[in-house]
């Protein structure tokens, strides 16, 4: 009962925040633009592949930034205007409150992720005049984006500062991660490379299922750390 109320409150918070909608809309729009760009590149034969699903999902590599930001905003918005005090006064059971926030963010991120992945592929199919052969990778991408969003929530709850969390996570996902991937064999077990195996198996040594498992383990571990930190620290 209290858990359901906490979830309702967290959902209400997330949905009444303009930043949530702006981030989702911005990500969706940016993903569509990039999908067109990738499709154009494929038409000119400068891309490595012409498979509709591969080309249509290539833009996700960039669009994931929007989901990371969505997760971080969900967590860090608590620390604007002293809202965290109101939150903890209303929901003093901290672990339950933060767990509810993760769940609420997942509920919002899931349809957004599925929509982003599907629209990108659909638009690419339109530009390339071809139909997708398989939908498996779209599911993989949806799961990947969902887990990435949750990593954003957990990291945001730990950092408490939007800019810090965004800089660290995006610095990892876009700069450090890819460089490690090229230089370090163990990098295939890191969250970004393992996660990429969920929808772009060509690059990694892991199967999509293994990749999903590894990324889920990373996400769960980070959420556990965030819950423990939230419980122990002064607000």
């Amino acid at each position: 009962m209290t858990a359901a109320r906490a979830l309702a409150a967290e959902l209400s918070k997330l949905l009444s925040l303009p930043a949530t909608w702006l981030t989702i809309a911005g990500t969706l729009a940016a993903n569509l633009l990039l999908a067109v760009a990738f499709a154009q590149a494929a038409l000119r034969g400068t891309a490595a592949t012409r498979d509709v699903v591969d080309v249509g999902l290539a833009s996700i590599g960039y669009a994931q930034a929007g989901f990371v930001v969505l997760g971080v905003l969900a967590a860090c918005s608590e620390y604007i205007g002293g809202q965290i005090r109101t939150t903890l006064a209303a929901m003093p059971h901290r672990a339950r409150q933060l767990a509810a926030k993760h769940l609420a963010t997942a509920i919002v991120a899931l349809p957004a992720a599925a929509l982003t992945a599907f629209c990108g592929v659909a638009l690419t199919a339109l530009v390339l005049g071809d139909t997708p052969a398989t939908f498996g990778p779209i599911l993989g991408v949806t799961g990947y984006l969902l887990l990435t969003t949750l990593i954003g929530v957990a990291a945001g709850a730990l950092a408490r500062r939007t800019l810090v969390a965004v800089a660290v996570l995006l610095g990892y996902f876009f700069v450090a991660g890819p460089l490690l991937r090229d230089n370090l064999d163990l990098a295939k077990y890191l969250p970004d490379t393992a996660g990429a195996a969920m929808w772009f198996p060509a690059g990694g040594a892991l199967t999509p299922a293994q990749g999903a498992l590894v990324l889920t383990a990373w996400t769960a571990a980070l959420i556990a750390v965030a819950l423990a930190g939230h419980h122990r620290r002064d607000a």
């Binding site: 918005s77 604007i80 002293g82 929901m91 002064d234």
Partner: protein
Amino acid sequence: MVTIDGLVKRRGGREILSGIGFSARPGRVTGFLGPNGAGKSSTLRVLLGLDRATAGTALIDGVPYARLRDPLGTVGAVLDGSGAHRARTGRAHLRWVARSAGLPRARVDEVLELVGLTHAAAKRVGTYSLGMGRRLAMATALLGDPAVLILDEPVNGLDPEGIRWIRTLLRERAATGRTVLLSSHLMGELAETVDDVVVIDAGRIVADGTLGEVTGAHRTLEDAFFALTGGGSRLTGGGAR
């Protein structure tokens, strides 16, 4: 009923609260007085479960805040600022708080009316004036019609009309048997509102009693306060006031 006993809080090696204890009883308005940095807000933050005590207890009706069954129905708290995200509307803020306690939506409009914010309910909190932000915080505190009200510097940022409104409200709450605990450094304001007074200075309780007892031989509560905290001598270089 608020009971604080042997409360110690250390932050970064510095002792902010050195074993303080007092209580706020139902049916009375208790004033928690002290100069800036004396430990008022730290005490209230521990009481509300925002910060953890190094030692000692701060209980509401005999339990720590975090273990209250129905937190919003038991305690309403106003700390500094609005306690709301600036991008949300006032009504949206109150709605999520109401959801967390399973309160009906109609209650949101009731408290908006009560604090006089109905006209600004659809505006974003970021556009609110300081006083409006305080009224929103007050509305949040009253949402669950709690038995205990805890307010940190409630009159800060309020205009004279707002001050009179809050004074009347606090007296009414106490008259109906509820507990009111408010902190302040504005003596003149307190003297007209409170029944009991607790004075804190540098993390220690230096006086605790009814308004009459604490004022004692001094002419006003303000004089008593300066005598107790040594603030007057600091400001006037030891001369008589």
